[in-house]
């Protein structure tokens, strides 16, 4: 049900763009107003989310400890899985952000005959996630060719590598195909694994469908329903140089693609996709496990009035002596 609702929502979005451009003639709105609004919402939203997280105190060290912590010199420490220094944390974050190390140690629980409980390694999610994120990144970077003129040199290398199969004209770019395939896998995984389906919400399906539809319209535009790339670049260059205009010859599929992308960007700060900033601000990842080496003082501790024994004795010395209670200072 969650999945169907999300699918309907994404189809609805595509229809809004289709009707808006084809029937209502709102090219200016869908070509200029929506992208600018989406980008503003994305930037401000991400910044405010991150600042909000930054203002939240993290008084104590709460890293997930996935290995042996630093202890006696003859016991080997798991330096990246249980870092005790800043350098170890940086390595842990690099491995986490670029290679999804924590997902790599994903395990699967099984009940075998006997009945026996078995845990086995499960790498498909890690592989699918890695393929999905990296190809999405490559696709995003590749789109810079529409926003820069002249195109910077490193893009040529990326594109040459991406299209090195030289299949068809325009040449198949591997990243786009893998992106769609990986997103489809991540969706099917939610549908076919019962316990994953049980915990899947509309907020899980919606971004997946959105990204799948973005990839699909992109692939359609490149290979099947030809869109005029020169007009598209005139629009995007206008947007990026803040002198936007709607050129002739933009097809409706381009507007659908643009509207879906705008929706995705505007949706990011309010959704789970915010993990793109959240991964850097996870206290369970970015803190060194040095609770036993460094004193961490709770930032909201208020000054506590204390009445030490010495002060107490000063106050009541005479009375204590009279009562025969031993005192430390005569």
């Amino acid at each position: 049900m969650n999945a169907i609702l999300s699918l309907i929502a994404v189809i609805g979005l595509a229809l809004i763009a289709y009707i808006g451009v084809n029937a209502a003639g709102l090219q200016f709105f869908f070509g200029i107003v929506v992208p600018y609004a989406a980008m503003a919402l994305f930037l401000l939203g991400v910044i405010s989310r991150v600042v909000k997280w930054g203002r939240t105190p993290v008084p104590f060290r709460i890293p997930t400890t996935c290995g042996q912590q630093q202890t006696l010199p003859w016991i080997k420490q798991a330096k990246f899985d249980n870092p005790s220094t800043g350098g170890g944390v940086i390595m842990r974050m690099i491995l986490e952000v670029f290679l999804f190390r924590s997902l790599f140690s994903n395990t699967k629980f099984e009940l075998k005959e006997g009945p026996k409980v078995a845990y086995s390694s499960a790498k498909w999610l890690w592989l699918g996630g890695l393929a999905f994120h990296w190809t999405f990144f490559v696709v995003l970077v590749r789109h810079l060719r529409l926003f820069t003129s002249p195109v910077p040199g490193f893009l040529n290398g990326i594109e040459a590598l991406d299209g090195f199969l030289q299949v068809g004209i325009p040449g198949v770019l591997i990243s786009g195909v893998v992106l769609l395939a990986a997103a489809t896998y991540l969706f099917l995984r939610r549908v076919f694994i019962p316990n994953v389906r049980y915990i899947s919400l509309a907020a899980d399906y919606f971004p997946l469908f959105l990204i799948m539809s973005v990839a699909l319209t992109g692939i359609l535009m490149r290979y099947f329903v030809r869109a005029d790339i020169v007009s598209i670049k005139r629009l995007t260059m206008g947007l990026v140089s803040f002198s936007p205009s709607i050129p002739e010859g933009l097809s409706v599929i381009f507007y659908i693609h643009l509207f879906l992308v705008s929706t995705l960007f505007a949706y990011i700060p309010f959704s789970k996709i915010m993990h793109l900033g959240g991964v850097f601000l996870s206290p369970t990842r970015n803190l060194a496990n040095n609770s036993r080496m460094v004193r961490h003082i709770n930032p909201w501790n208020y000054p506590v009035e204390v009445h030490t024994y010495q002060e107490y004795e000063d106050e009541f010395r005479d009375k204590m002596k009279n009562a025969g209670i031993p005192v430390e200072k005569e």
Binding site: L43, V46, I47, V50, V51, W53, G54, R55, T56, P57, V58, L144, R145, L146, F147, T148, S149, P150, V151, P152, L155, N156, E159, A160, Q166, G168, I169, P170, R226, A227, D228, I229, V230, K233, R234, M237, V240, S241, G277, F280, L281, P299
Partner: protein, 132 residues
Amino acid sequence: MYNGGKIILGLVIFVGLFAFPIFYNTGKTADVPKPSLDTPVINQMEKKECVESKEWMKANHMQLLDSWRDSVLRDGNLVYESTGGKKYIMSLQNNCMHCHSNKKQFCDSCHSYANVKPYCWTCHIAPKENEI
């Protein structure tokens, strides 16, 4: 803010990366390509027409050329019949470039604008152009 320095540094990097095209493009003028049809052969034509309509060619010329290559090299079929019923020899160098002898002003104007790198000229010989 806790660890404000690091978080703000991260945000500045994020915004900087996001705004890369804006910084990159400032001071550079993006010329909108205008493919030139000013060649001796085209100027002499009475009715200026390509093998198909201009709009269709604009969108599909690369796929047409690709199918021509397959047709000539794999099937040995050298004649293309256009939707208008006219027959053309399928040849990039001898037919396309006969009219469009100005590769730099015609092909390259859009291709370099959109950063498209067709590999036509890894096999074919690019026309020698007289600098005017």
